[in-house]
Amino acid sequence: MKKIIEVKNLYKLYRVGDSIVRALNGVDFAIYEGEFCAIVGTSGSGKSTLLNMLAGLEKPTKGEVIIDGVHMETLNEEGLVRFRRENVGFIFQSFHLLGTMNALENVALPLSFRGESRASRLKKADQMLDLVKLKKHKKHLPSQMSGGQQQRVGVARALVVDPKIIFADEPTGNLDSHTSEEVMELMQQVVKKQGKTLVMVTHDDHLAAYADRIFHIIDGKIVKVEVNSAKEAKKENATKKEQTREQKKETKKEREREEERK
């Protein structure tokens, strides 16, 4: 499989007063195309810093970040913006939808930065909102939607530009557990369907369980990379459940038929 993200010997040092804080202390890893990775750590572990650096929002102190063959640390700010515009979708913890635009316009917004015409933008945005099951809320302003609905708009906005990579920073941090599950399932499903690479930062092990691989980060170092076998099992479980459900349905129908005969 092709490496889409490659991080080599990454350091990020902050000066806080007289002391120096090592937010990232020598990180090496690679993420492959089409993978769903979770970066898990407690707050202050450096996971958000790592994500910022992957997205080119912060400059590393030392080391290399290679995304799709491009060295991010060599790009200037304009170059980084262009790179994000062409290759990256973003999902935020607090959604960050523009309050003056309705759902459709919010989803279409990143396309306008690429110079697409309004008609084609709105058409694509419309399709994306269908995909995230928000058919009824297209004309709603963010303030008229629930958190879960807003985050679905956020997911649609990240997907609409057809990015190679989607970064998600605690995407369910502001949602209740039930809605979180819904949004996670949606993300997982859509990303798999479209073959995108998804990098998610979270502090919640439970949410990380949706990922294919889980990077545990503590004090600026990746301490464990876990291939999520549980997920495979889960999937199998899910198929089994479906099978049993169908079986039950069939038995039900048979019973009904029998009753009709009687």
Binding site: N52, A55, L57, E58, E77, E78, V81, R82, R84, R85, E86, V88, F90, F92, Q93, S94, H96, L98, T100, L109, P110, S112, F113, R114, G115, S117, R118, R157, V161, D169, E170, G173
Partner: protein, 475 residues
């Protein structure tokens, strides 16, 4: 990003903050309007100056004056008084001038004060004698039924300026137009009028005996040898008007106050009346005897081309005469107008400058409010240049709206000013006081947009440099 999308976002954020936008725009409106109105006043004055020059013979005309001759109520070239010459303008002078290179024509003119009697009114007028050619060149706008004086006429035929009726007073009460605001009941075209050239004698006669209304006085004795001692009533000439300058007493023009006549007829009349005596206003020797020559007030010289006006003026100056040209007059007036306009425009510019500070403040506020939004669009891939453009456009938009409304306001104010001035009248201006040409509209709008963008530049730069990290920091 497309222009239309940039525009949509900029105008959208202005619409979102309606009250603040309105107040900021209001500042620009006041600034633009004050600049436009101030400059329009200067332009209006300039325009009436141009018209005045056109009426007084155009740019190629040169006025030559010698030693003061005749009597004038209005001194037009006071600046020439410093270098008083010893020479008089005589027929010799006219011939001399005509011989100069680049002279198209030269003609004398005589200005003198005299009295006109008509019915119960008497008017103190300024009589201007011109040659028939010069009269044509003056290009006066006459009423439809007017004609220029007949060249061969023996009698004096007069053309009245449209402001002349204001110079008549009712005999006895002594009240004139400016006291009563009523025009004298004179039909200038048809009523019989008497012209008195010898003002001194008229005043003397008036002091001693109340002026009797003895009409039909044509056969009055010719001047003879009336010395200062004898109280002889002055000779009255029956005159009639052949024309009048178009317009009522409220529309000022270059011929407003004068009464014109044929200089040759006037001269022969003067020489007949004052035979052997000094004609009033004419130069005399120390003993009070007149010279043999007849002196004119001014000579009007026309240069053949505009380029030669200056050299010709200098040439005549070297001959020992005082010279003023319309071109020089225009130049000095233009300098004055430039100063007036700069001053007036400067006052307006100050208010626009204050408006610019308002714009900068509004933009800064807007950027502080939208820090998160700016960060988000940066993370989503809005290029730095687009962000800058968006904010510059927003500021420029404020300038533009302010410029448009400011210009509309200026037009309303201009109309109001012109209306009020026309109503009160008598400012001594021909045409409108305030004049807004198209270029002023365009320039002021362009300037308003420019000021808006300059004021918005640093805020826009600040927005561009905002860190996108500010956005993804959670609340």
């Amino acid at each position: 990003m497309r222009w239309i999308d940039l525009l949509r976002m900029s105008s959208g954020s202005l619409k979102r903050r309606k009250l603040r936008t309105f107040l900021t725009v209001l500042g620009v409106v006041i600034g633009t309007a004050s600049i436009v109105v101030m400059i329009s006043l200067g332009l209006g004055m300039q325009q009436s100056l141009y018209r005045e020059i056109e009426q007084s013979g155009g740019m190629t005309s040169i006025t030559v004056t010698g030693k003061d001759v005749g009597s004038r109520m209005v001194y037009t070239s006071d600046d020439q008084m410093g270098d008083e010459t010893k020479k008089y303008i005589t027929d010799e002078t006219i011939k001399e001038l005509e011989k100069l290179e680049h002279v198209a024509s030269a003609s004398p003119s005589l200005t003198m004060n005299s009295v006109l009697l008509s019915g119960k009114y008497e008017g103190y007028i300024q009589l201007v004698g011109l040659t028939p050619e010069e009269m044509k060149r003056q290009n006066m706008k006459l009423t439809d039924d007017s004609r220029l004086p007949d060249e061969d006429a023996q009698n004096l035929e007069l053309i009245f300026g449209n402001g002349v009726p204001t110079m008549f007073y009712e005999r006895g009460s002594g009240k004139g137009y400016w006291e009563t605001m009523e025009l004298p009941d004179i039909d200038f075209r048809n009523d019989q009028m008497f012209l008195i050239l010898d003002q001194d004698a008229f005043f003397n006669a008036q002091q001693n005996t109340p002026v009797s209304e003895n009409s039909g006085d044509q056969s009055a004795q010719s001047g003879g040898n009336a010395s200062a001692g004898t109280q002889k009533p002055p000779k009255k000439y029956v005159v009639n008007a052949c024309g009048m300058v178009a317009g009522d007493v409220e529309s000022y023009n270059a011929n407003y106050y004068d009464v014109y006549c044929n200089i040759d007829v006037l001269r022969s009349m003067l020489q007949k009346e004052f035979a052997g005596r000094a004609i009033p206003g004419q130069p005399t020797t120390k003993t009070g005897k007149p010279y043999r020559f007849f002196a004119y007030t001014t000579a009007k010289v026309q240069a053949d081309e505009l380029d030669n006006v200056e050299s010709l003026a200098n040439q005549i100056r070297e001959l020992g005469y005082n010279v003023s040209t319309n071109a020089e007059y225009l130049k000095s007036m233009q300098k004055q107008f430039a100063m007036v306009q700069a001053l007036l425009g400067g006052i307006g510019a100050v208010s626009l400058f204050v408006a610019a500070i308002g714009i900068a403040n509004t933009m800064m506020m807007s950027i502080y409010e939208r820090t998160k939004e700016i960060g988000v669009i940066k993370v989503l891939g809005c290029s730095l240049r687009n962000i800058k453009t968006m904010f510059l456009m927003e500021a420029g938009f404020i300038g533009f709206i302010g410029g448009v409304i400011g210009n509309i306001l200026s037009f309303l104010m201009s109309v109001a000013i012109n209306f009020l001035v026309a109503k009160s009248g008598g400012v001594g201006l021909d045409g409108n006081l305030s004049y807004i040409p198209l270029w002023l509209v365009l320039a002021s709008m362009g300037f308003a947009v420019f000021v808006g963008m300059v004021a918005g530049y640093f805020p826009a730069l600040r927005a561009m440099r905002l860190s996108p990290l500010a956005a993804i920091r959670n609340n």
